[in-house]
Amino acid sequence: MARPQHLQVNPLPTTVLDRRDIIPLLIEKPEDFLCVGGLAGAAQELTAIANDAPYVYALAGAMGAATTMALGLALAQPDKRVLCVTGDGELLMNLGSLATIALMNPPNLTIICVDNGHYGETGNQDSHTGFGVDLATIAGGCGIPAVLTINTMDDLPEGRRLVREGNGLAFILLRVKEGKPLNNGRLMQPAVGRTRFREHLLGHA
């Protein structure tokens, strides 16, 4: 009977990076960005490294929302850099958003997809990327102008350059091992998150 098979075309290298080490090094100073974190590990991680700051909107539901939420924010705030951190599971649910974002090509948006090949929040089931689906190829095929895959620490300098000095829309596929994200808890009240984000950015709710 049929079941998901590991892909035999273009096999990806084995993952070696620990997300707890690499994500703080890649983002370094989250306060330089307006941030949207997709459920679940990405939002937990952003919240942890930003110390629960108001400029992080952390999602704990609405799976698939992070990329287009970041697009709307980037279009509304062209003078600020916007950072979207999502996961492979969430992005697989909304692949078309990469096509939408590529057509709009906001120069102030960077998307980081933390790809651990698993649905970490629901019991660590394999995701499609764990079977070999390559989200960076999809992002490039959608027309995102700068696409980078980070497999090892050797790729970090180029990733940091894209995040911090990039002058255009960028997609970074950060391939990490299985394992829990940094997590000191996150705001679980979405309306409170909206109010404090807007107060921080706009000076009013």
């Binding site: 609405a62 698939g64 939420m69 909206r194």
Partner: protein
């Protein structure tokens, strides 16, 4: 900035609706294309002061406009009735986060519909949106579009509600099938 009808010189309701949205400072026009929204989409594409955002699926627009609100901008989401069902779980973000939302939905599967495929979703638009906490208004005649859309703008951007304005097939005309 209105486009008069070439034969009569009158301002048609789609042009008046676009002008109304712009006067309300709507700057993000997001859509999955439909013939019923042709004028709004074309005018947003021609307007240098707005973002015109083509979506691959309607739910992208729900989260897009929540992000616009985080950044202090107002938007509108345009779709055909068949797209309403694609938005349902994403409306968790709108309701949970108390984000304002204005949707314009061109209806199929109701008044005078000749394609049986359109009925299941067309007839379900109102109950499923209401089940997710969206307030549903309907415009069925050209002379009530601006009044209904104005009410929707106030409810969304002054009161912070999620509002859908249904543009009925009685208003936009039923598509002809041979």
């Amino acid at each position: 900035m209105t486009s008069p009808d070439v034969t009569t010189g009158a301002i048609t309701w789609p042009d008046a609706l676009y002008d109304l949205l712009r006067k309300a400072n709507v700057t993000q026009f997001a859509y999955v294309p439909d013939a019923g929204h042709r004028v709004l989409i074309d005018r947003s594409l021609a307007d240098p002061d707005v973002h015109s955002i083509a979506l691959t699926t309607e739910e992208e627009g729900i989260s897009l406009l929540a992000g616009a609100d985080l950044g202090g901008a107002r938007g509108v989401l345009m779709m055909q009735s068949s797209g309403a069902g694609n938005c349902i779980n994403m409306l968790s973000l709108t309701k949970g986060g108390r984000f304002p939302l204005l949707m314009l939905i061109s209806m199929r599967g109701e008044f005078g519909e000749g394609n049986p495929w359109q009925f299941p979703m067309g007839q379900a638009v109102k109950p499923v949106l209401e089940a997710m906490g969206v307030i549903v208004l309907t415009a069925s005649h050209p002379d009530e579009v601006i009044e209904v859309a104005s009410a929707g703008l106030t409810m969304a951007f002054q009161s912070g509600e999620a509002v859908a304005v249904l543009l009925s097939q009685r208003l936009i005309g039923a598509k002809k099938f041979a």
